[in-house]
């Protein structure tokens, strides 16, 4: 790690003010991505602004029939929240499947979506659950938020404050995890809102995406077998030593079936 100056603001306004003061500041969420990056000397921020002591960024509450989750909510808090388990149980079980216990006790929702790792789990929930990302200055629709591999619509210095998830009629997330890192090789989040079905796929491509064919097929007939004819093309999918693009394309269909089955 290179040396940096550490700050711990008590409000979003203070954090914004600090961001404006320094040459190369960086926000610190749960640190599960940022700290390893610093330890490997792959980043050299002048200042770290820890978001952990800001009450506005915390907490889980019901709002407009859905759920609003503060950006600094840890994965374990989402997983164990009775509110989340009651309103959107699929979101709680997604959080429970992230990494390992240590990671869940530290990592945050805001950190996860701002980092936009192609194999992170939350992006699938954000997109499938028609979420709105709230920041210190605006609201961003889920369909606009994730713009590419490790890229989001956030402007420099923009702080995510909360995410509002809509409550689906039913939903489920099926994940095929990387046996080494336990990130998603493929994760498919299926959510049903009346006649609308959303199928969000993470892990498979450079960024989370919606499987249009599958959505159309399931809107017609919400059964796993309805996916028999639908598939995502392997072209353009990620490939690494753990999974080829072909295998990922195959897994998308298997996980989509499992998610549909889990919706009941």
């Amino acid at each position: 790690m290179y040396a940096f100056t550490y700050h711990r603001p008590k409000s979003v306004a203070d954090a914004v003010a600090l961001l404006g003061q320094f040459e190369d500041p960086k926000l610190l969420g749960g640190g599960q991505t940022l700290l390893p990056t610093l330890k490997q000397r792959l980043a050299r921020p002048s200042d770290l602004i820890d978001l952990g002591q800001i009450p506005e960024l915390q907490g889980i509450r019901e709002e407009a029939g859905g759920l609003t989750v503060g950006a600094f909510t840890r994965h374990a808090q989402v997983a164990h929240s009775e509110t989340v388990q009651r309103v959107i149980p699929a979101l709680a079980s997604l959080a429970e499947g992230i990494g390992d216990r240590q990671v869940r006790n530290m990592g945050t929702l805001g950190g996860s979506i701002c980092n936009a790792d192609p194999s992170a789990d939350y992006p699938a929930a954000v997109v499938a659950l028609k979420a709105t990302v709230r920041t210190d200055r605006r609201e961003i629709s889920c369909d606009d938020f994730f713009t590419g591999m490790f890229e989001t619509a956030l402007e420099p210095g923009e702080i995510v404050t909360a995410v509002h998830f809509q409550k689906p009629d039913k939903a489920a997330y099926a994940k095929f995890r990387n046996p080494a890192s336990r990130y998603a090789i493929v994760g498919v989040f299926v959510a049903v809102f009346g006649s609308e079905v959303r199928v969000a796929v993470t892990g498979a491509g450079p960024s989370v995406f919606r499987a249009d064919d599958m959505e159309a097929a399931l809107a017609q007939d919400f059964r796993a077998d309805a996916l028999n004819g639908a598939s995502v093309p392997a072209a353009g999918l990620n490939a690494d030593i753990h999974a080829s693009a072909d295998y990922r394309a195959h897994l998308v269909r298997v996980m989509a079936r499992r998610a549909v089955e889990a919706c009941g």
């Binding site: 095929f176 030593i241 753990h242 999974a243 080829s244």
Partner: protein, 796 residues
């Protein structure tokens, strides 16, 4: 009355309280006044000429004390890291042994090869400065895989090693094998890869060098499994420091699995640099450095053929193996794919003729050396996969085919065609215990039940035998070892009856502090709390060879027994004097020295007191004191053996393999502490399952970059990946040539497990026509295998 801390008692490990509460003292926990920190500048290229090193800017950085290079070591006449085992090729020529300098001089030969070292006041300062050391590299093409390195025109890792061939060795009777193959009714053939693994001890390597100007004494504290070996190699061959001026300490060591046997360059560098800068120098590897620089394991590519008669009796085995040595010869590297591998190719079978050829190859990768099992898992995997293929091809039940070919217990001692003489073993008995344990007959019903849930199911066997103890020095010497392979012990009774045992073995997770103390407790009736086990410090213990090859109890424990024999002989004399009886009438019963047929008795404490306060003592016959030393050099290897049975379930939609049950039936000879033995088996099994399903060290075949350089990509097995194990052992076949009758248990789990798992995986996939899969059986590999063998899906 059984001694609650004697032989056979499941005494909880005494050392665990210390380790589990963070009170262990590991090398990195030790800090000396004035200590400095070393950080290595390492080659980012697999192969490059070093054309210049400019340290001027680094030297100006805050806190920097020195930047040292290979040229500085050369100027100080620092030598090459020696290799401890010499192999001769078929043509009688000695193996190629290119120099291996602690810091590379003109060429870097793998990603991570040390090029310079920065010494600074703090670790962070040293790291900062290391980035400022300007090394001019001229990148060269790299030979990365063993197969490519052997191809004509491949880049040469060492200019004077033609074809990158370190040695081309063989063992066995080729003519007899050819003749047997000519007679064969059936020949089973198999090509297989035993993939490269990263050892991943929990504690990264570390080394702390100190130099005392007043006495001229050097001290190296290091993460080693064998401090005396390091003292000998580093002192005599690398730094030229005589033994009496060099102390090597291996304090608490957090796992080794073989990777901490070897003498590494960093140890020599900190020892040398401490004198140069006049202050203690500490280096601790980061995890990513461990991935790049700890000696790796396995990495064999083999072809094997088994000849059988019409009844499935094995007639002959022919094996050709290419073994990757990496860029340099690590300390014991040449012995692993030869005398610890080919000699084990008989396995548990009475195959009359065996011939093995092994080519060892240099590549631009980190050196490969012993890793838990060391050659024996590679042998077991090859034989047991081949036997399973033979069973499938001949239609003979796989348990039956094995039984038919076992060396019978009645044939012991048994001379194999590949140099070893097994002393004991009842292989059929292991199988007889295993079959009902796993309900072999019920497999079909379980498979049907899995099928109802859409899963495939397979059952796989592995029988193994290993040669442990490593071994009689004269035998090892004849085979090329450049060291003796005995063990030492000193048993020192103190005046009030407590005991300190000094052992040449080294504990880095095996529980010696408990097991060894049980030996003393049993013998002299001393409570275990009164026995201290001291190991790991060359200034305290007698010259010892350390711990590897499942040797600690068989060789180190036997040395303790021999020292206790001497203590007992002397104690009897003292007791006879004190009790005014004839020495011949003194019996030792439950740790008490009794005059036969009387109630006159003394405890060892009474005797020890008299030995140190010799007021009533036969001073004209005996010296005072009760402190004896012994060295034990075994007559033979020991031969732990067993039968492992694994059952897996496979999800054909995803290719995920789940180990649903695993049973290990082992013969370790006599068992001193069943709890510790079970723990060793569990750990070994997990490591073997790890190789079968998860672990794979991958270098980019062109650039030689390590792709699996962190836990994000290198998959270690975790608790939730493995089932609850069924572990059984029997003690009917004690080792016949050591005083405890013990055989060793440290590596057994690893040796049998990979083959058992892979046999189960292939069995489950056999309904698709799959006959072999290389490790690790990752989900994608399994899925691809299914797809290749499913016409409809392949066309998709």
């Amino acid at each position: 009355m059984a001694n609650p801390t004697g032989i056979g008692a499941s005494v909880r490990r005494r050392e665990d309280a210390r380790f589990l509460t963070g009170r262990g003292t590991y090398t990195d926990d030790i800090n000396r006044p004035g200590q400095t920190h070393a950080v290595f500048v390492r080659s980012p290229y697999a192969h490059a000429r070093i054309t210049g090193i400019d340290a001027a800017e680094a030297m100006q950085a805050p806190g920097v004390i020195a930047v040292l290079t290979g040229a500085d070591m050369e100027a100080d006449k620092v030598g090459s890291l020696p290799c401890g085992w010499q192999i001769h090729s078929k043509d009688g020529s000695p193996m190629k042994e290119p120099p291996h300098f602690p810091i590379a001089r003109d060429r870097a030969r793998y990603v991570g090869d040390a090029v310079a070292v920065v010494i600074a006041e703090t670790r962070e300062q040293a790291k900062d400065a290391a980035e400022l050391v300007m090394v001019d590299y001229e990148e060269l093409p790299a030979a990365v895989t063993s197969l490519k390195a052997l191809e004509g025109g491949a880049p040469l890792v060492h200019d004077d090693v033609g074809g990158n061939l370190c040695f081309d060795w063989h063992l066995g009777d080729a003519a007899a094998v050819d003749a047997a193959f000519a007679q064969a009714a059936h020949v089973a053939k198999l090509d297989l890869v035993n993939q490269r693994l990263v050892p991943n001890a929990m504690e990264p390597r570390a080394a702390l060098g100190e130099y005392d100007r007043a006495t001229g004494e050097h001290t190296l504290t290091t993460t080693s499994q064998n401090p005396h070996v390091i003292r000998l190699l580093m002192g005599a061959f690398v730094l030229g420091i005589p033994e009496h001026k060099l102390r090597v300490v291996a304090p608490d060591v957090g796992g080794g699995f073989g990777s901490k046997i070897f003498h590494y360059g960093e140890e020599a560098v900190v020892t040398w640099a401490a004198k140069k800068v006049g202050r203690p120098v500490k280096w601790t590897a980061e995890r990513s450095e461990s991935f790049l620089t700890d000696a790796h394991g396995r990495d064999h590519v083999s072809h094997a053929e088994l000849a059988m008669d019409k009844d499935g009796n094995f007639l002959a085995l022919r094996v050709a193996t290419i073994a990757n040595m990496g860029a340099y010869l690590s300390t014991f590297a040449p012995s692993i794919p030869t005398y610890l591998y080919a000699t084990l190719l008989a396995g548990q079978y009475k195959t009359p003729a065996i011939y093995a050829e092994v080519k060892a190859v240099f590549t631009n990768t980190v050196p490969v050396d012993a890793y838990r099992g060391a050659g024996r898992p590679e042998a077991c995997y090859l034989i047991e996969r081949l036997v399973e293929v033979a069973a499938a091809e001949t239609g003979i039940d796989k348990a039956e085919l094995r039984r038919r070919n076992f060396v019978p217990a009645s044939a012991m001692p048994y001379q194999t065609p590949v140099a070893l003489q097994y002393d004991t073993g009842d292989f059929a008995k292991n199988l007889d215990i295993a079959l009902p344990l796993v309900d072999y007959d019920g497999f079909a019903a379980r498979k049907a039940e899995s099928a109802r849930r859409g899963k495939l199911r397979g059952i796989g066997f592995a029988t193994y035998i290993e040669a442990c103890g490593i071994a009689p020095s004269n035998v090892a010497g004849a085979l090329g070892a450049r060291a003796g392979l005995y063990e030492s012990a000193e048993v020192r009774f103190h005046p009030t009856g407590s005991v300190t045992v000094f052992t040449g073995s080294h504990s880095h997770g095996q529980g010696h502090e408990t097991t060894f103390a049980q030996l003393v407790s049993e013998r002299f009736g001393v409570p275990i709390e009164n026995v201290e086990i001291v190991h790991g410090d060359t200034s305290k213990i007698p010259f010892g060879m350390g711990t590897y090859g499942s040797r600690s109890l068989a060789v180190g424990g036997s040395a303790i027994v021999k020292a206790m024999d001497k203590v007992e002989r002397k104690a009897k004399k003292i007791a006879a004097h004190m009790l005014e009886a004839a020495e011949a009438d003194i019996e030792v019963k439950d740790g008490r020295f009794v005059v036969a047929g009387t109630d006159k008795a003394l405890t060892i404490g009474d005797i020890a007191l008299q030995a140190y306060v010799p007021h009533n003592f036969p001073l004209d016959e005996l010296e005072p004191g009760l402190d004896e030393q012994a060295f034990y050099d075994p007559k033979n290897f020991t031969y732990p053996n067993g039968c492992h049975v694994c059952e897996v379930e496979i999800d054909p939609d995803t290719g995920v393999v789940q180990v649903v049950s695993f049973a290990a039936v082992d013969d370790f000879g006599r068992v001193i502490n069943p709890l510790i033995v079970e723990g060793q088996v569990h750990g070994g099994l997990v490591q073997g399952i790890g190789q079968a399903l998860y672990e794979n060290c991958v270098y980019d075949e062109e650039s030689g970059q390590l792709i699996t350089g962190s836990y994000m990509d290198y998959c270690m097995p975790r608790a939730d990946d493995v089932p609850s194990f069924t572990v059984r052992y029997h003690e009917d076949q004690p080792c016949t040539h050591n005083p405890l009758g013990v055989k060793g248990c440290g590596e057994a789990g690893t040796i049998g497990a990979s083959a058992a798992v892979m046999n189960a995986v292939v069995h489950a996939l056999s309904e698709y026509g799959v006959t072999h899969l290389d490790m690790p059986a990752t989900p994608e590999r399994v899925w691809q295998a299914i797809r290749r063998h499913t016409p409809a899906q392949a066309a998709e």
